[in-house]
């Protein structure tokens, strides 16, 4: 166990420790700094030299603190960030998803169960799917698409001709929307599909994840459910043999998939 008693400190050590202290450190000195300052105080010449140096440092730090970023930089950064998110979909989203979904999704479900969080209509399976999707969308910024395409028809053809992952038929409204791309992955041992859509007027991106209906539990219903999943606007529904979850950072419009 560490001995709290301060060890003897020579002036060279004290000088070094005191010189490294910031204003915040000096406002509330820790044990080592306190000993260093005491050591310097014991030698008037050292103390004067350090005080003078410290005063100089404070003046420089204060003067630098007067320099302000140009007006508008904050908005410029946030706007660029928004544009980047719209134009560079998250490429590695699914790699991380495939690697960690089972574990983190399981933890998420358990936590939500314990917290008694209300479930959307798709049921526990849908909830966990939305939670897991939101979890990874929040953490993975640049997932790579297997196919980049502007239409759902092309994506559907790709899915049907490549290794079977199931069809993607989220609703008629989605046929009208431009797509960005798609990826396949495994979720709970089932093949899942992610397709990213652009809404009309390019106002937002909607991430739609589809899994076999059997993967989301027997109590899943066909009614659409709108809810919030973290910072995401989310929706879940069943259509045919598949369950769907949509996430967007903008409010979802059910007319889009009516």
């Amino acid at each position: 166990m560490k001995n709290d008693a301060p060890s003897p400190m020579n002036l060279a050590e004290a000088r070094m420790i005191a010189a490294a202290a910031t204003r915040a450190d000096l406002a509330a000195p820790g044990p080592e700094l306190a000993v260093a300052l005491d050591a310097l105080r014991s030698d008037p010449a050292e103390w004067t030299a350090w005080s003078r140096e410290h005063q100089f440092d404070q003046c420089i730090a204060s003067a630098l603190g007067e320099v302000c970023p140009p007006p508008g930089l904050r908005q410029q950064i946030l706007a660029a960030h928004g544009a980047q998110r719209r134009t560079h979909p998250r490429r590695r989203f699914l790699l991380a998803w495939a690697a960690g979904l089972t574990v983190t999704g399981g933890v998420g479900i358990a936590a939500r169960w314990l917290m008694g969080r209300p479930s959307p209509i798709v049921g526990d399976g849908g909830t966990s799917l939305a939670a897991a999707a939101a979890h990874f969308l929040d953490r993975e910024w640049d997932h790579a698409f297997e196919l980049t395409s502007g239409t759902l028809g092309e994506i559907r053809r790709f899915l049907e001709t490549s290794e079977a992952a199931g069809s993607m038929d989220p609703g008629k409204g989605f046929e009208q929307l431009a797509t960005i791309g798609c990826r396949r992955f495994f979720w709970r041992g089932e093949k899942a599909i992610l397709v990213c859509f652009r809404t009309r007027g390019d106002k937002a991106i909607v991430h739609v994840v589809s899994v076999p209906r059997t993967a989301v539990g027997a109590d899943a219903t066909e009614a659409r459910s709108l809810f919030r999943e973290g910072r995401w606007h989310a929706a879940s529904w069943i259509r045919g043999a598949r369950a769907y979850v949509a996430l967007s950072d903008q409010p979802l419009d059910v007319k889009d998939w009516g």
Partner: protein
């Protein structure tokens, strides 16, 4: 991890100050600051230790700065001996009259190893070990640079203040005047 808006609110100013001191240009400083946040947006998730976030931001900005000026073949990288403890006599009250622009100009006129180190030191965002991490040099080098850099900075600020006192029309310090003292050889 904080969201982007919180991050920008907290670190925009110190990062901008660091960038301005490095580049000496308001436009380049704004670009570097913005670029740093955009890199955070794409790569920040790889950082598993939230306590390293500050260092990550300053490291990234510094790397971007070095990348930006890669075409410049002159990269003086001087590891200095420990500075002598005796400092030139100064009038303490004179320093309190310094303004941000003057300090920034003089810092910008300093040679690269001192410039980045002193900027990070005086921004008071990072500790010695974090500055060493951000600039990717040993901590002993950082301590040496700060110690020696303080002396150089003091000398140049004195020169700048003298020049301004003798010619009140001088609003900005001429580069040749700021650079008349060369960095000591290692």
């Amino acid at each position: 991890m904080p969201d982007m808006e919180q991050l920008v609110d907290r670190y925009q100013a110190p990062l901008y100050r660091f960038a301005l001191g490095l580049t000496g240009s308001v436009h380049h400083a704004a670009d570097l600051t913005q670029q740093t946040f955009l890199l955070w947006a794409t790569k920040g998730h790889q950082l598993r230790d939230a306590t390293k976030m500050r260092s990550w931001l300053f490291t990234t900005l510094h790397r971007e700065f070095l990348r930006m000026r890669r075409h410049d073949t002159r990269h003086p990288h001087t590891d200095l001996e420990n500075a002598e403890p005796d400092l030139p006599t100064v009038e303490p009250e004179a320093w309190s009259r310094l303004d941000g622009q003057t300090v920034m100009q003089v810092l910008h006129s300093m040679e690269e190893p001192f410039r980045a180190t002193l900027l990070l030191f005086y921004l008071e965002e990072l500790r010695y070990n974090e500055i060493a991490e951000a600039l990717e040099v040993p901590i002993g080098t950082i301590m040496s640079r700060i110690s020696r850099g303080r002396i150089l900075l003091r000398e140049r600020l004195q020169d700048a203040m003298s020049a301004r006192a003798s010619d009140p029309q001088v609003l900005a310090f001429p580069k040749d005047q700021l650079r008349k003292r060369q960095a000591p050889n290692p």
